[in-house]
Each structure stands twice: as C-alpha cells, then as structure tokens.
Amino acid sequence: MSEVVQFNYSLLVPEYVLAVTAGVVLLADAFRAELKLGRGTVPWMVVAGAVLTVLASIVTAGRTGEFAGLFAVDAFTTFFRVLLAATLAVVVVGSHEFVTKHIRHQGEFYTMLVFATLGGTVMAASRELLTAYIGVELLSFSLYVAVSLAKRDPRSGEAGLKYVLLGGVASATLLYGMSLIYGAAGSTSYGLIAEHLAKDSEGVHMALVLGLAMVIAGLGFKASAVPFHMWTPDAYEGAPLPVTAILSATSKAAAFALILRLFAGPLLPVLRDWQWMIAVISLLTMVFGNLIALQQTNIKRLLAYSSIGQVGFMLMAVVTMSDVSASALLLHLGGYLVTNLAVFMAVIALYNQTGSEEISDMRGLAESNPYLALVIAAGLFSLSGMPLLAGFTTKFILFQAAASGGYLWLVSIAVIMSTVSLYYYLQVVRQMYVLQADGSLIDPQSPDVNGPRWRLTATGYVVTAGLLAGVVFVGLYVSPLAVAANRAAAALFS
C-alpha cells in the first residue's frame, strides 16, 4: 500500500449522471400516482439523463486520468460514453410508444436500459479485470431482466431464460479465463499484466493460452460471435423490440470496447497466442452469420444473424490489432450503430402500426408508407455496404485496415460474405417495393390492396429522419467520426 492511490471523483461525472437517472426513474415510476406524473414523463426523464450524460462526457472530455488505477478516462472512454448514451436516448425516444403499449413495468424497464448503458461505459473505461468483470455483469444482468420484461409475450420469458442460463455459463467461463490470466501475470491491473507477460510467460504458457481461449469464449458470447452465438437469435426474437435494438447496439459496442481494451493493452504482448483464435472465430462468424441469415422469415431473426455477420467483420480488425485497425473498428462500430438503430427504429414504428414481425408482412410498404420503406431500405443497403451510405465508407476503411494488416485471405472471404448479405437485405427490399400486400406484383391501378396510407407519430418521424440523415452524413462526410475514432484509438495505445 505504499503507492498513492488517486481518487479523482470528478472523473466519474457521466457515470454519476447515469446512475442518478436510473434511481430517479425507478422511484418516479414507483410513486407516479403520488407525484401525479403522466405516463409519458418517465421516458423523457431517461432521455434527459442520457442527453445530460452525452453533454457531461463531452464537457469533461479534456479531463483525462485514472481513478484508483481501476477506471481510465481518456478519448476512448469518451467515445464510448457518447456512443452508448446517445444510443440510449435514441432508443428511448423511438420506442416510448411501443413500451407504453407492451411493457407493464415501465419504470423497471427503463432503469434496466440505463443500467445497461452504465455497464457498457464501465467496460469501456476499465483499467483492471475486476472492474471490467463487474461492468460486464451489470450490462448482462440488466439485459437479462429487460429481455424478459414483456410479460404479455410468452416468447419473452423463454428468451430470458435461455439468455440468463447461457449468459451465466459465459460469465463463468470468462471469469475462469480471467483467473488464469491473473495467475499467469500475478496481477489484475492491465498495466502490470502487460509488463509481466512481456517479460516472461514461458512457464505458464499452457495456462495462459487456456485463459485466453476462455476469455475469448466469454467475450465472444457477449459480442455473439460464432460458435458462441446460440442465444442471439432467440434472445433477439423473444425480447421486446427496443431491447433487441439495445442488444444489437449497446451490448455489441460494449463487448467490442472491452475486447479492444484487453487485446490492445494487457494482452498485446502475447499477440501470437490469441491472433489465430480470433481469426478462426472471425471467419466462422462472418460465414455462418451471413449464410443462416439467408433463410430467416422474421425480421428480428434476420437482423440477429445479420448482426452476427457484422461482428465477424469487426473481429477482423481485432485480428490485425494496431492503432490503424482499432480506429477502423471504432469507425465501423459507429457507422453500424447509426445504421442499425435506423433500421430498428423504423421496424418499431412499423410494428406499432401492423403488429407483425414477419418479413412477408412488410409487403406493399412502399405504397402504404413510402417514407418508412425508404428508411428501412436505406438502412439495409447501408448494412450491406452500398456506396454513399455509412456502411460503405466504414466497411471499406475496415477492410482496408485488415488487408494492410496482412490478412488478405480473411478480407477476401469478408468481401464474398458481404455480397451474400446484399442478397438477403434485397429480399426485404423486394417485399416492400415489388410486392403488394396480397403477394402480387405492384400495380398502380389497384392501390387499395395495401391498405390505406398511414403516418408515423411525430417522434417517430424525428428519430428516423435524424438517423437517416446520420447514415447519409457518415456515408458522404466521414471525417468527424473518423477523427473521433482516431483519437480514441490513439488513447488506447498510448
């Protein structure tokens, strides 16, 4: 205890804001009758908290440092704080209608989303294994609860059960791996681990490789990489739609934040021991995710498998770990988040109207609501990597980084799989634009088959339009996001 431990509480302001938001929301919902709050107040409190968190992270971005050697605040942390809190705000704005209709325990539900975001920021900021693990558990526990909270839908509890049991196994595996790394390095602090592993890890090599494999398996589960993805389609389908959006955005981003923190920091000295494992997982993930996506009929399951495919692409950048590829990964993560949220928010708006998740029920959408069809189509095209949209630019930079890292074979498979993904995205677009509700080709003479035209709610318009603008903006003018990603990646390696 000779070293002086720094307790600089002002570094944690965004986390405080999130925690206080969660507490206030929980209490406000519990005492809603006494406080005479309307049903719409609670979601706006969450949005206010999330926006405050974004502002606090940006304002305090200049104050970098470490909290007690456990928690680092640097450009990387700020990047994820902003990303995750903004995701929370967008999801809540875009889905408050859905939640009012389908979720009984609103306060608890929103609290879980806020805590999931908090867990994600803790994972992104961790400088030590214990803090990272607790962050992982906070994120996972909140999501276990959120997945099972749609009590009117029997699929929700089932998805929750599968998620919690498999998640328990995954965190036990992750923890066992962490314990082996602790044993091999004699410390849980990232800095000391890197030091010890760089010096000498010959004697404990076997245990170290086993530990790495277990940590990769545990984190691969959280990021839903094949073969640890079994929970993903079920949890995505069974969860209420906003939670599916959070699962595909917050949970993935946080998992990648921790993967970057771990593999670019303490585990970098043993690069050769884990590089091949991640390469294999990346390959399996992109191939299986994209191939299985081809046969899905439910839009949530389709998006689940397509997101698995995306994870495969992102893992490529982990294989060729360097500041360039880390920056490309962060950039792609940002682009993916914006695009994915655009698709999800549009699907939520569609579900509010039609109450169906089947892709075949999206027929004729181009006639009944051309705007929404446009948003979904643009989002899907961006996910598949069409030029002018976010997905193209960020994916291009990602592939380039991986190729310059020397993994050309992996990149060529990624390009093939990217083409495959275009096929199933186009299937959805075809349902919307080419077919009418009764399955016939679109015929302007008989417009009533598709039902009357309907309009989105005001918040639905605002949120989808904002995200659509984001998708196009990142696609055309990528440099602001790229600068942020570069800075974050530089902080990671400093």
Partner: protein, 99 residues
C-alpha cells in the same frame, strides 16, 4: 498448489458437463454455481501463492461469490415466471423459439 488448481479444473468440467446434460433450468443453475465455485478456488489459490499484493484475488473471489448469488436469484425469478406460463421448469418445454 497444483492440487488446488487441479481440483478447480475438475469442478469446472463437472459443472460444464452438468450444463450440457441437464434439462431442468434449476439443475443447470446448480451446475453454473459449481463452475463459479471453481473460479473462486482458482482466485484464492493464486492470491495465496503468487500475488505479491495478496489481496486482489481474494477480493475478486468475494465479488464472484456475490455475483453468483445474485445470478441465482435473478434466474430463479425468470424460471418462476416461465413455470407459471408453461407449468414446467424444463428447458425442453421452452421450445416456442427455435433453440
């Protein structure tokens, strides 16, 4: 020291076998608990034998035990709810989604 680690390895593998072989949600939970117990043996062994600071592993184990207990509580809540819907705690009965 290798003895303790070997014991924890055996426990972890037994727990993993249980997770794969069992079909009742509660029995799967019990198996997960075994895996987590194996983890805490590991942490304490490393803390006693080779951590010059001595504490980190012990503290890690305390957290692992806490989280494990919380996980049981949460998972049982979900099991309970599924039981009310379906009348069984068997994961095979949870077949509405493709497993």
């Amino acid at each position: 020291m290798e003895h303790f680690l070997g014991l924890s390895g055996v426990l972890f593998a037994l727990g993993f076998y249980g997770v794969l072989a069992r079909r009742s949600a509660i029995l799967i939970l019990i198996s997960v608990e075994l895996m987590l117990a194996a983890v805490s043996i590991n942490f304490i062994t490393f803390a006693t034998y080779l951590d010059p600071e001595r504490f980190t592993g012990v503290i890690f184990a305390i957290f692992a035990i806490t989280i494990a207990a919380a996980e049981v509580g949460l998972a049982l809540g979900i099991v309970l709810r599924l039981f009310r819907d379906r009348g069984t705690s068997n994961v095979d009965a949870a077949d509405e989604l493709k497993w």
